[in-house]
Symmetry: C2
Subunit: 114 residues, 2 copies
């Protein structure tokens, strides 16, 4: 029942991909400090397009890392909240991001390659 990221077809790879994607990382970290609605996330996650944010949120919801709550009011109102699993996931991702941020001076002297 355990996943194996070394196995090409293991679904754990898909979850990893979602969590470590550019916008997945930022979305998880952004939601760590609490529930946010779509437009708030969009402002917080610098540079995401609506399309990408929607897609990222749907992926993370499909992985049960967050829940979507939509209120049927006239200007749409939708809230996104991390699940318990999501909080754990976000903690790991943030830990990684913090490490990279902290070690930037030592990493990459000449950032000219993609």
């Amino acid at each position: 029942m355990r996943g194996d990221v070394f196995a090409m077809k293991c679904p754990s790879r898909t979850v990893m991909k979602h969590m470590t994607s550019t916008w997945g990382v930022l979305t998880l970290i952004a939601l760590k400090s609490g529930t946010l609605r779509f437009s708030e996330l969009r402002r917080k996650v610098n540079g995401v397009s609506e399309r990408m944010l929607t897609q990222t949120l749907q992926q993370l919801e499909g992985d049960r890392l967050l829940t979507r709550r939509s209120y049927p009011v006239v200007p749409p109102h939708v809230e996104y909240t991390l699940t318990d699993l999501g909080h754990e996931a976000a903690a790991h991702v943030e830990c990684l991001a913090n490490w990279v941020e902290d070690h930037m001076p030592q990493l990459a002297a000449m950032p000219e390659q993609a």
Copy 2:
């Protein structure tokens, strides 16, 4: 001097991308247990093409996460070893991967989306 993954142009994003790329993750984890040569890595990292492995190794080398040592012998012999930084990076990445592997049953019930 500290990086910021929320900043679109921050080089930390590039490093994150290298570390969390499909093959970056597997390469780092594979090298955690010690030096490996190219062909050994290729066999260990299930499914990677030569091209992708080469590229991944060059990126990680550029980020100072591993070192390349090449011996000028007749059948080429090249060894890859994690740096101290690389070991730290690999630990974080493996931690994340382990978490995902351990929680697979709870994540993703129907893995039909990309």
